[in-house]
């Protein structure tokens, strides 16, 4: 990767939530929600952050946008030829940068203020940043509504009059209002019906092509991810276990967890389940992760080394990063 076209470079990002117990609220432990995550995103690409619930993908995304403060690490964001570390930037200096990075939320219901009309919701970022007067704002909002294929006649409607898919379009229009370079989409289609999911995914792809957007796409569904991303990072208990180009990762996974996830993803083909890998046990507890590789209690390839030593994320091939002691020696099954 050449340094010049990298928009976001995350290094050793950590977010630990304290667990307090008792009357005096003594610190009794920590949930290591995000525990040393590193990756970078090139301008114009889509990187998917994939994992099951509790793996820290949403927390990581929120730390990157400084919706919550990270515990440690660096989030180097490059905009207009200037690189700043969002993780340590004072709030005052952070606010003017916010317009370059926006978020699309998972829940199309709670993410729109029910007391504001659609036009005001989409125009709010413009208003806050003093980007336009009333008339200009109206014109820009109309343009944004057309961009996400919403009739601009709906300007004065309230969110309660819209379906989930339309609400998600409104959310996308709001995120686009300030022409951001980076959009973090947190499970943008997981709350939608199947027939609407495809519409939103296509819309996101079209917008990326037209506007040159960069997406950090957070999701749990590997099938959805396959349709939108250039590269995929798989997370397990606060860490990235594998990162690769989408096609490569699906076809030839190098981490046993990726293999299991791919195998567990339901496919709409009757009788296709013969080779399913069913993982034993449950996802490890991020407050009390097992020693060694956090995945070892569920891994069918685990050795003594996996039980005692924590594997590091290493580049095994150009552009392929895996965190597994046995990476490369296992012939793991992929799909597609």
């Amino acid at each position: 990767m050449s340094g010049s076209d990298i928009i976001l470079d995350v290094r050793g990002l950590k977010k630990h939530f304290p667990i307090r117990r008792g009357l005096l609220r003594r610190l009794s432990g920590q949930v290591r929600a995000v525990d040393g995550v590193s990756f970078s995103i090139r301008r114009g690409e889509t990187l998917a952050l994939v994992g099951e619930s509790g793996c820290g993908k949403t927390t990581a995304a929120r730390c990157i946008l400084r919706a919550i403060p990270p515990s440690a690490g660096a989030v180097n964001f490059t905009i207009d030829g200037r690189t700043v570390d969002l993780a340590t930037l004072p709030r005052r200096q952070l606010r003017p940068l916010r317009r370059h990075m926006q978020m699309v939320f998972q829940d199309p219901y709670s993410s729109l203020n029910p007391r504001m009309v659609v036009g005001d919701i989409i125009g709010e970022p413009l208003l806050i940043n003093g980007m336009a007067n009333r008339a200009e704002r109206r014109a820009r909002v109309t343009q944004l509504m057309e961009l996400v294929q919403l009739p601009s006649a709906y300007f004065n409607r309230f969110p309660h009059a819209f379906s989930g898919g339309q609400r998600q379009r409104i959310g996308i229009a709001r995120a686009l209002a300030l022409n951001p370079g980076l959009i973090v989409a947190d499970e943008p289609v997981s709350a939608l019906d199947v027939s609407v999911q495809a519409q939103i995914l296509n819309l996101m792809l079209d917008l990326q092509d037209r506007l040159g957007l960069t997406y950090l796409f957070v999701a749990h569904d590997l099938s959805v991810v396959k349709h939108v991303s250039d590269r995929v990072a798989v997370m397990y208990v606060g860490r990235i276990v594998e990162l690769a180009e989408t096609e490569t990762l699906y076809r030839r996974p190098l981490h046993p967890y990726t293999e299991a996830l791919l195998s567990a993803a339901p496919t709409p083909v009757p009788g296709a389940i013969s080779s399913r890998i069913v993982l034993e046990r449950e996802i490890a507890d991020p407050a009390n992760p097992p020693p060694g590789c956090p995945f070892h209690p569920r891994c069918r390839y685990a050795t003594d080394m996996c039980r005692s030593e924590v594997p590091q994320l290493q580049e095994v091939e150009p552009g392929r990063w895996v965190s597994c002691h046995r990476a490369g020696e296992l012939g793991l099954a992929g799909v597609g």
């Binding site: 889509t46 099951e52 619930s53 379906s163 989930g164 898919g165 339309q166 019906d193 199947v194 027939s195 609407v196 999911q197 495809a198 519409q199 995914l201 296509n202 792809l205 749990h220 569904d221 590997l222 099938s223 959805v224 396959k226 349709h227 939108v228 991303s229 250039d230 989408t246 096609e247 699906y250 299991a260 996830l261 791919l262 195998s263 567990a264 993803a265 339901p266 496919t267 709409p268 083909v269 009757p270 009788g271 296709a272 389940i273 399913r276 890998i277 069913v278 993982l279 449950e282 996802i283 799909v335 597609g336």
Partner: protein
Amino acid sequence: MADPILSVRDLHTQFHGREGIVRAVDGVDFDVFEGRTLGVVGESGCGKSVTARSILGIVDRPGRVMGGQILLRPQGGGPPVDLATLPQAAMRRIRGPEIALVFQEPMASFSQHYTIGNQITEAILLHMGLGKRAARARAIELLDMVGVPQPDRRIDEYPFQLSGGLRQRVMIAMALACDPRVLIADEPTTALDVTTQAQILDLLRDLQQKRGLAIILITHDMGVIAEMAHDVAVMYLGRAVETGPVQDIFNRPRHPYTRALLRSIPTVMARPRTRLPTIEGSIPHPFDRPRGCAYHPRCSEKLGAVCETHEPPPIDTEHRQVRCFLHGGIPGAPPGTQP
């Protein structure tokens, strides 16, 4: 094929609210057979969950079953019983020993103040006429059967001490406590992660093979249907638009909605960054149910005015049923003619 255990015929369930009538289920037919899984699939508002609740007679107020039959064939033969007209007292003897339900959200379906042992044995004591000690032994046996590790210890734990996957296992154990013949699983894996979902689906399949359970699996996920179901009913806005064996539904879908739905599903097999074919528009609100065929405003294969004015009748062909004028039933046309 043997006689079905459960047959639903022209089921209608309506909610009479202050804002008007919602026809949540508006003409559904299907059969459920021993040892087979019927997958009921559809998007939000299609009435799949209300169908399940209608069968068990537990539709939330102000909903009511307004018409149709729910025929349960008793064990060892005899004329079928129509559950739609059965009084509540008699219904209570059906729920549990005959038909049991597994909910989507296992946390909400447990009482938080009793151990899981208490809650499983309650059903056993109520229906099976066992003593306390025997009921507990049976509960442990059930937990073991659904793959709960250390069942003799877990039985005394409270629901909040269990993970989502374990709770769903316990929920299944509870449903199986009285040895039902039909198990209705309403989105049993929607709240779970994929790897846990795989475990639970495995368990259901395994239990079915061992006990010859008839399963009605209600889900929005075509992938889960492909994996689990023998027969499929595709629902749209309260109506089963197409029913048939799983291979036929997936490989030769006949209803335009089924066809479009199958095309629009993202899969791990796809080439990266490929656009999916979509279904235009969104699902109408139940109050604004379109006239005629409810799917016509989104249909890409619409025939014309007839779809906007007339409801397509069910057209039966060997093991399959479809409600679409593309396959006949146009009023005025001679029977059997294809447009």
